[in-house]
């Protein structure tokens, strides 16, 4: 200790490096193993807090589903199972690439790690793209939480007796704007008394219209970040900036892919037009037809379902965005060659976080989409 006292000045100048010089080992740890164990325990505890954070939402779900099962039965039919399932597959695939990336990092395969991380980031972006389509469409159908909710019955769906078409919700950011749109929808519906099919088309057009703002924005991001990436890539001193631009590029492209795929699916893929048989039946025996296509009456608290839906998927989407930021950070560090066979903790930890975010979606999907 006396020796230490005599060298205090040195210590303060450059930390306590008399024991090790490895920049990958933080000064207060004795070994890489200790550093890794510390991080691992830390991330697991953090995941515990995340689970508890979501537990409030699951509690909310459990209480209301047990109090008002009919609300959930009725309202969940407005969610598009196909889009939800597609998103589930995308997220599961991203979990695979993330786990693969951890493996690559452990083996010191930087190139493989980079590919895996980029794929994971792209999958996350596709998920968000699909989600934004769903949200926007929900908003245009007035399927919003609380007193922003407008009953789909007002749209004339009841008369049509068709199973309500896939409907989406509102992005947190789009809430205000879309609520107004929804009002406009109603005015239009009440006033013009358009046949329901057209009404539906109209709503879809509006959805596409709103999405087109996002579309233009994303194109701008793609072009700008693409240029930035192209220019900076050649400069070895701007590696970080180039990589950040690259991450933006991948995210924007991913979102575009997701949104376009959803629009395309909606346009061509589903909600088949009534068959000849249906039309014949509706013309000859309207009462029987209506009975056959009988739908659940709208319960009083249908809006509560959409409160649950938006809160749960919204908080989940925020976690996806957080994960995308974390993965981008990993990509930047990977490009700088930070990870080696004995130092890959960060990849492992963010991987665990990503798996948890996936896992939560694995619960959300059946709880919200697959009630019927």
């Amino acid at each position: 200790m006396n020796t230490a006292a005599t060298t205090t000045t040195d210590e303060n100048a450059d930390g306590h490096d008399h024991e090790h010089h490895d920049p990958r080992l933080a000064h207060h740890f004795d070994s890489h193993q200790q550093q890794f164990d510390t991080g691992k325990l830390g991330i697991w505890l953090f995941l515990v807090t995340e689970v508890l954070f979501f537990s409030g939402l699951f509690g909310f779900y459990a209480v209301y589903r047990s109090l008002h099962p009919e609300v959930f039965l009725y309202a969940s039919q407005f969610l598009d199972t196909t889009l939800g399932a597609a998103n589930t597959v995308v997220l599961l695939f991203s979990s695979l690439t993330m786990a693969w990336g951890v493996r690559c990092a452990q083996l010191g395969n930087t190139r493989g790690l980079l590919i895996c991380l980029v794929t994971t980031l792209a999958c996350a972006a596709i998920f968000l793209g699909v989600k934004s389509f769903e949200y926007t469409e929900k908003a245009h159908h007035g399927l919003l939480p609380g007193n922003m909710y407008h009953s789909p019955e007002d749209h004339g769906h009841a008369a049509e007796a068709a199973v309500p078409v896939a409907a989406g919700g509102a992005d947190a950011a789009a809430d205000h704007a879309t609520a107004d749109h929804a009002d406009a929808d109603h005015a239009a519906a009440d006033h013009a008394a358009v046949p329901a099919v057209h009404q539906d088309d109209e709503l879809f057009e509006k959805t596409k219209h709103t999405l087109s703002y996002m579309n233009s924005f994303l194109w701008a991001v793609i072009v700008l970040s693409g240029i930035a990436f192209g220019v900076l890539m050649k400069n070895p001193n701007k590696k970080t900036l180039a990589t950040v631009a690259g991450c933006f590029l991948i995210s924007a492209i991913g979102m575009q892919v997701g949104a376009f795929a959803s629009v395309g699916y909606h346009q061509f893929g589903h909600a088949a037009a009534p068959t000849d048989q249906d039309i014949a039946m509706a013309e000859t025996a309207p009462a029987e037809y209506a009975k056959q296509k009988e739908k659940v009456p709208e319960p009083l608290l249908a809006r509560t379902f959409f409160s649950v839906y938006f809160c749960m998927t919204g908080v989940h989407a925020i976690h996806i965005i957080g994960g995308m930021i974390a993965i981008s950070w990993l990509i930047v560090r990977t490009v700088h060659g930070a990870f080696t066979t004995y130092y890959f903790g960060a990849v492992d930890f963010i991987g665990l976080y990503w798996h948890l975010v996936d896992l939560i979606w694995i619960y959300l999907f059946p709880l919200l989409y697959l009630i019927n």
Binding site: L52, P145, V315
Partner: protein, 572 residues
């Protein structure tokens, strides 16, 4: 006994008492503080922040008590009274008591006690301090933007309909929650992975056990508060109908969510203080702690039970009778681990050589006040009496005995106990003890009359009252003044010591745990080599040394301290 000895210097094993370059002055400028990763500096910043918030909350308290001198309106109407007690409660809870011992004292002491160089995640530690600052800023913003009048509990549906700055305050709570989570997470990981050689779980100082139990609660309960606050924000902003009965929501659900956090949070406040008292009583009685394992296990037991009793806040909120009985029963069982601690402290003092230092005085005050606070809790846990006592001054007195009288007195004990280590200076014991006496008397004078008021039916949260209550209210207000003056005296004594105090030796009280083995104040890396840890309560391992005015390891007593002390000085 583990001593930090330097084998490379054969002249002496005598521990260094003092270094000119320590964590306080090793670097200068505001940046060296605001961007520091040193846990001790972060702890100091917390301590300053907590002190400021304490006086802010205290001023609100004094104003409230002044208004209550008379049943007539003196200077506050009902609305400003509502805002005042809300802010008093919210500031004292979220900004003072919750971060008080764990974040401020724990940050400074925990790594040193572990013989570690820092906490596991120093950057996250700094981040959690900044989150605390942001949270505090939101609270200040809430005061500016129209105040807050919901009570610190934010009960729905009133918190949805009132037009005060509920959303701002809730954001503050949300952010402060994450600050608390990150501190707790850091402590758990640090205790798990960074203990020095020789320190098994059952050789840890009990303060660490207490902080560990606290951290468990922090990471398991606080996220629920976070999501509850978030849902209430969304409810207020978009009327989603979770908690609003007008939209089909359930306001009692809010109470469940809220108390699922906030009851365990009560133990976040009291457990660290209990840990402090375990240290203080043992060290200042110069005796091995009695029933070490029982105290350690009881901390964990309190943490676990703490999660199962939230319903006792809702006996009159319309929960089912069976549930109420179960909650009442579990609540009773919490008193068992609490009582185990009290009995062990008393047994520790038995036949010890007790010195009435300021820290010890606060420790004794804690035991006295906590016993009253804990026992009156049983009245409230009893279903039949709770119907009568619910929402009266009895409740107010009970939780002030626990939260103010115990938690804050525990914080005061901690500050005095570790002040020589933190600041490197000895404070004036005489004035310290006077302040302690003032705090003790002032506190009891303030809150004991409130027990009587409560049993006679004085409801809480009113700015006015029936005239027959006036004498007791005046008594209570006088106590509040005394309490305020004594707290100021305490802080004054401590600040005075920074400038004019005697230089502190490494081990002024004769503690055997690791933090007393590094010099006072510690150098920025605490220990150059991980020290060997032994039993932290073998007080015989250190003996008093006249020359330096502190304790040194018994085996060094005969060494040539002249040269060593000189060497300590010469380096300077």
């Amino acid at each position: 006994m583990a001593t930090v000895v330097d084998s490379s210097n054969p002249k002496s094993n005598f521990p260094i008492q003092y270094r000119e370059l320590n964590y306080l002055n090793c670097s200068k400028g505001w940046k060296s503080w605001f961007f520091t990763l040193d846990h001790k500096r972060i702890g100091i910043m917390y301590l300053i922040g907590v002190t400021i918030a304490f006086f802010l909350g205290g001023i609100f308290a004094v104003l409230l008590r002044t208004e209550l001198l008379s049943p007539a309106k003196l200077f506050m109407g009902p609305d400003s009274y509502n805002q005042m007690f809300t802010l008093h409660g919210a500031i004292m809870t979220f900004l003072v008591i919750i971060p008080g011992v764990p974040a401020a004292i724990g940050n400074i002491i925990l790594p040193v006690m572990l013989g570690a160089k820092d906490v596991a995640f120093p950057r996250m530690n700094l981040g959690s301090f900044y989150l605390w600052m942001f949270g505090a800023a939101f609270f200040v913003a809430a005061i500016v933007l129209g105040g807050l009048d919901t009570g610190w509990t934010f009960y729905t549906p009133y918190s949805i309909t009132t037009n005060t700055a509920v959303i701002t305050a809730l954001f503050g709570v949300f952010i402060l929650g994450f600050s608390s989570i990150f501190t707790g997470l850091n402590f758990i990981v640090t205790i798990h992975t960074m203990r020095p050689p020789g320190m098994t779980w059952f050789k840890m100082p009990l303060f660490l056990w207490a902080l560990y139990a606290t951290a468990l609660i922090q990471i398991l309960a606080t996220p629920v508060l976070g999501i509850t606050g978030l849902l209430l924000i969304v409810e207020r902003a978009f009327h989603i109908g979770i908690f609003d009965p007008a939209l089909g929501g359930d306001p009692v659900l809010f109470q469940h969510f809220f108390w699922f956090y906030s009851h365990p949070a009560v133990y976040v406040m009291i457990l660290p203080a209990m840990g402090v008292v375990s240290e203080v009583i043992a060290v200042h009685s110069r005796k091995h702690i009695f029933g070490y394992r029982f105290i350690a296990y009881s901390s964990i037991a309190i943490a676990v039970f703490g999660f199962l009793v939230w319903g006792h806040h809702m006996f009159v909120s319309g929960q089912s009778k069976v549930v109420a009985v179960v909650f009442s029963g579990i609540t009773f069982s919490v008193s068992i681990p609490s009582a185990i601690k009290v009995f062990n402290w008393l047994a520790t003092m038995y036949k010890g050589s007790i010195r009435f230092t300021t820290a010890m005085c606060y420790g004794l005050a804690f035991i006295f006040i906590f016993s009253i606070g804990g026992l009156t809790g049983l009245f409230l846990a009893t279903l039949a009496t709770d119907i009568h006592l619910h929402d009266t001054y009895f409740v107010v007195a009970h939780f002030h005995y626990v939260m103010m009288g115990s938690s804050l007195v525990g914080l005061f004990a901690a500050v005095h106990h570790w002040w020589p280590k933190i600041s490197g200076k000895m404070f004036n014991e005489f004035w310290g003890r006077i302040a302690c006496l003032g705090v003790f008397c002032g506190f009891n004078l303030t809150f004991f009359p409130q027990f009587i008021l409560g049993t006679r039916g004085m409801p809480r949260r009113y700015y006015t009252y029936l005239p027959e209550f006036q004498n007791l209210h005046i008594l209570s207000t006088m106590g509040a003044y005394l309490l305020g003056i004594s707290s100021a005296l305490m802080v004054g004594t401590l600040i005075y010591s920074i400038y004019y105090g005697k230089r502190a030796p490494a081990n002024p009280w004769g503690g055997a745990s690791l933090e007393w083995q590094c010099s006072s104040p510690p150098p920025s890396n605490n220990f150059d080599h991980p020290p060997l840890a032994g039993d932290p309560y073998v007080m015989e391992s250190v003996v008093y040394n006249e020359e330096i005015g502190g304790y040194v390891p018994a085996e060094c007593q005969g060494d040539n301290k002249g040269s060593v002390t000189a060497s300590g000085d010469k380096e300077v």
